[in-house]
């Protein structure tokens, strides 16, 4: 791989990677079982540079911001490289947000350029807020010829001949603005520098190196911090290959493992559990005698790999299982949400190591990772090289807030010095997560101090962001909480949001009001929905500016009511 210590910016590292590994395949893009694109590093460069030149001609200047709203595909990475080549700042946005949310974040980030897929652009142009869009240059991918692009340009035609000027950036310059949340109220745009990414990449590849020939299956959205690093920057600076699959259908995901002989993949718990369900169902279909043999082979594998993984041995012992994963899988990487230890153990016992980690967008990608020496299903691993962690104000069990200090910690929140000061104190990032170290230096997580949940799909949901859907609800006041924020639990998983209602005097919670609540709740994507409600009989405490004092309210509720008072929706 490239020696990233020598580089000052991502653009320069990627540029050298394209030359150094020119004949290696860098990208494969498949839609279901149809391969659509296969590019070498040299092909990638040939497509990206005319785009970079066209951006320069369109006065996209160093430091200007360019947003990408796309599903995982080759044009995402090509566009990102062209943006870095021009010295631009990348703003990767979650394609699963609504059009209104996209417009809100485009405005907040002040993106001058937007690269967007046609179907997503169509939704944006149909939004009532669209006329106020300030983004100057919109490049639309895969638009049908002759379609109305509402002032946008076809990505495929947006190219110019001639070599673009490469713009070198310094390590402290901004590389990306990544939104960790805040679409409903206060956008949290994490400003990450080139140094943040280069140092993160060095740390991750020190423990888990890539090399030419490695094929990484990119399933998590590329706008997500994990996939951006492990499904783009990491593989590229090592000459590895990224496989994009334009569907999350479980049968095609399984097929891709075999078709492309995948080496590594990052998955959120929801997908890992789906794979587990599929395998368990297959095991259950086996005749009794075959099942008995399988169980004994699994037990043998478990015994022989208890100290460290031995994938060669596991492949010999359990060839059928490993063939189903393509035969070359070295590890499943997980993170971004709570993963049940039993699921991780299930895969490890089959000889498929699960590398569990912990991180947050504000910290680059990962702060800790399991080094598999030995495998531990009950922790999120050890701090990565260069990462210092502290447990603040530990209780009698040693559990306290995790604080992090590292070169990978973001510079600040975009346009929010107040929130930055609250979050980064004396150079330490206050994560809001509760944890402790065990005797072997592994971090164990026990819940959150902050009012938010993380779904099995790896989505951070902040109550403030979804409250707007209840605007106008005919009650005196309302507020959404993470249930664990009101009633702290020293464990993760099964997190849910609760709507706290304060009714008008003499108002009853009748079926009409309940239907109104349910119908509003259904307007939210399934992963953002409130799980239940609780009627509160006192006025909400408020600040002088009439903001709800959430922490005070949560404490009042926890003293007066049990978690069981929540009524399911």
């Amino acid at each position: 791989m490239l020696d990233l210590r020598k580089y000052s910016c991502l653009g320069a590292a990627l540029r050298d990677a394209l030359d150094r590994f020119s004949s290696e395949v860098c990208l494969i893009e498949a839609d279901r079982d149809r391969e659509k694109v296969r590019l070498t590093y040299s092909d990638f460069k040939e497509i990206a540079l005319p785009l970079a030149r066209a951006l320069e001609d369109a006065e996209f200047d160093p430091g200007d911001r360019a947003a990408i709203i796309m599903t995982n595909q080759s044009k995402w990475l090509i566009s990102a490289y062209a943006i870095f080549y021009c010295g631009g700042v990348l703003v990767p946005l979650d394609y699963k947000l609504t059009a209104a949310e996209h417009l809100q974040l485009l405005a907040h980030s002040k993106a001058k350029v937007l690269v967007v897929e046609y179907h997503l652009w169509r939704a944006i142009t149909q939004s009532p807020e669209f006329p106020r869009i300030a983004t100057k240059i919109v490049l639309v991918t895969e638009s049908p010829l002759g379609s109305d692009l509402a002032g946008g340009f076809r990505w495929e035609d947006f190219k110019r001949k001639g070599a673009p000027d490469f713009i070198e950036r310094q390590r402290e310059d901004v590389a990306c603005i990544v939104y960790s949340s805040g679409t409903g109220g206060r956008p949290k745009g994490c400003v990450l520098t080139h140094e943040n990414y280069l140092e993160q990449c060095i740390a991750l590849t020190t423990w888990y190196p890539f090399w030419p020939g490695v094929r990484y299956l990119s399933i998590l959205p590329t706008n997500h911090a994990i996939d951006f690093m492990v499904g783009f920057i990491g593989p590229f600076v090592c000459g590895a290959c990224v496989v994009h699959l334009r569907t999350l259908r479980p049968e095609f995901v399984r097929d891709a493992f075999v078709r492309y002989r995948i080496t590594y993949v990052s998955l959120v718990p929801m997908i890992v559990k789906n794979l587990e369900r599929g395998l368990r169902a297959k095991f259950d279909e086996l005749p009794k005698w075959k099942r008995a043999i399988l169980d004994s082979l699994i037990a043998t594998n478990k015994l022989l790999t208890s100290r460290r993984p031995n994938v060669k041995l596991s492949r010999m012992l359990l060839p059928g299982v490993h063939r189903a994963f393509g035969g070359e899988l070295l590890a499943l990487i997980t993170g971004g949400a709570f993963m049940e230890p039993s699921t991780m153990q299930f895969f490890y016992d089959l000889g498929v190591p699960v590398v569990n980690g912990y991180g947050l967008t504000e910290a680059g990608t990962a702060l800790t990772l399991n080094d598999l020496k030995p495998f531990r299903a009950d922790t999120v691993g050890k701090p990565l090289p260069g990462v210092e962690l502290r447990i603040l104000n530990p209780d009698a069990d040693g559990v306290g807030e995790v604080a992090a200090h590292s070169k990978t910690i973001m510079s600040h929140y975009l346009d929010d010095p107040e929130l930055t000061l609250e979050t980064i104190v004396d150079g330490w990032l206050l994560t809001g997560d509760l944890g402790r170290f065990d005797g072997r230096g592994h971090l164990q997580l026990f819940g959150r101090k902050k009012n938010m949940i993380v779904t099995e799909g790896g989505k951070n949901i902040y109550p403030e962001d979804i409250e707007t859907v209840f605007d106008g609800l005919p009650v005196k006041e309302y507020c959404v909480f993470a249930a664990n924020y009101i009633w702290p639990k020293k464990e993760l998983g099964a997190e849910t949001l609760t709507l706290v209602l304060r009714l008008e005097p003499n108002q009853q919670l009748d079926s009409k009001l309940l239907e109104d609540i349910s119908s509003r709740n259904r307007k939210l994507p399934d992963f953002k929905r409130v799980g239940g409600y609780l009627v509160w009989d006192k006025d909400f405490p408020r600040t002088a500016s009439m903001k709800i004092k959430r922490q005070v309210l949560a404490e009042e509720i926890s003293k007066a009511a049990e978690r069981t008072a929540i009524v399911g929706l």
């Binding site: 599903t71 569907t247 999350l248 259908r249 929801m270 259904r522």
Partner: protein, 80 residues
Amino acid sequence: MPTADQTLDEILNLAASHFKVPRQKLSPDEDFFKALGIDSLQTLDLLTKLENHFHVELPDYELQGVTDFRTLAVKIQSRL
């Protein structure tokens, strides 16, 4: 070609049988995540079953934001 109502009815039947839920418990405007007790990946599974049944192909993004059977039926009907 089936009518829109027939398509909707077939979707409800298929969903009920695939996820082993009594057919009478499902209604067209119901939130299928809640009615079937499924997550978004299982919804993709259902979509595959529906594609095979109706011989159409729906990209994943077509399902984004769709939460009730009736809207799903409209998406499928438009491709028949």
